[in-house]
Amino acid sequence: MEVKDANSALLSNYEVFQLLTDLKEQRKESGKNKHSSGQQNLNTITYETLKYISKTPCRHQSPEIVREFLTAMKSHKLTKAEKLQLLNHRPMTAVEIQLIVEESEERLTEEQIEALLHTVTSILPAEPETEQQKSADDAAVDGEDPA
């Protein structure tokens, strides 16, 4: 076996999630040979990886959302690795942005960090539980009655 290119492309968590879900569907349809000993490794790794990715916000993304996100990111001048990490993690605080973006104090002002956070949280969908919790917190702070 020969490795021609060990780093031909970076994949986002969403792409891997999509691939594994499609693979799972295909194998469910074709039925019988899933449980043969040879397929056990594939079953294990697919199950575990799917379990891991399903707990991240990547689960709710779609190709259109990713495209929209990347277009919005063009103005911020970030490297490919940084954009990929933003897509995979969906940071909600400035501290997380500082972790992901190298030398963020020199490259981004506070307003830019806020703008970046706003773009990320508005374009990328969140987990439904955190959304509910966030709106509950906001309602409590403002003193509004929940609708």
Binding site: M1, E2, V3, K4, D5, A6, N7, S8, A9, L10, L11, S12, N13, E15, V16, L19, L20, L23, N33, G38, Q39, N41, L42, T44, I45, T46, E48, T49, K51, Y52, T56, A81, Q85, N88, H89, T93, V95, E96, Q98, L99, I100, E102
Partner: protein, 204 residues
């Protein structure tokens, strides 16, 4: 976290599988060979992405099976250096904190890369971050099962292919079982603001 790796290999299809479509048989064989396995200096292979090229299939004398040279792309887990990941604490030991991602377990955060100052609590076998504020020191425990955000600082590959029979001077002969080494390990660090248990940094 995941990369696409282009590889070339020769796949052997036994005659009793000739009725199946070639692409399906080849995909199954490649997954059987590579899924959930670590390839030296490449990473942990997850699953086949696609087949880019199939060359002619040959049948060799003495073997009824067909051999096809396949160019394909495989999804491989290999975080890049300085990437931030979120995992679960599997346990603590004097060597450091062991973190797992579910599908990948060999991640270690050595004591020097923990938030300082940190100490190891022998009684509970857990690492503790002694967080100083004006009120006094808080002890933040790194318990098993907690989610932790860490940065990948190093990776190491070990070639675990079987070696031949050892040479004449068999020092430690067959009494002790051979040590199992993980073929691919990651070293992490949490010594920056924002890293460590997620519960340390959520502003509730």
């Amino acid at each position: 976290m995941f990369v696409l790796v282009e590889m070339v290999d020769t796949v052997r299809i036994p005659p009793w599988q000739f009725e199946r479509k070639l692409n399906d048989s080849i995909a199954e064989e490649l997954n059987k060979k590579l899924a959930n396995k670590v390839v030296y200096n490449v990473g942990l292979c997850i699953c086949l992405f696609d087949i880019t090229k199939l060359e002619d299939a040959y049948v060799f004398p003495g073997d009824g099976a067909s051999h096809t040279k396949v160019h394909f792309r495989y999804v491989v887990f290999r975080p890049f250096l300085d990437e931030v990941l979120i995992g679960k604490i599997k346990g603590c030991s004097p060597e450091g904190v062991h973190v797992s991602l579910g599908f990948f377990d060999d991640i270690l955060i050595p004591p020097e890369s923990l938030q300082q100052p940190a100490k190891f609590d022998e009684a509970e076998q857990v690492w503790v971050w002694e967080y100083e504020t004006e009120e006094g020191a808080h002890d933040l425990y790194m318990d098993t099962g907690e989610e932790i955000r860490f940065r990948v600082v190093d990776e190491s590959f070990v070639d675990t292919s079987p070696t031949g029979p050892s040479s004449a001077e068999a020092t430690s002969s067959s009494e002790e079982p051979p040590r199992k080494e993980a073929p691919y390990t990651l070293a992490g660090s949490i010594s920056e603001p924002g890293l460590g248990l997620l519960s340390w940094w959520t502003s509730n």
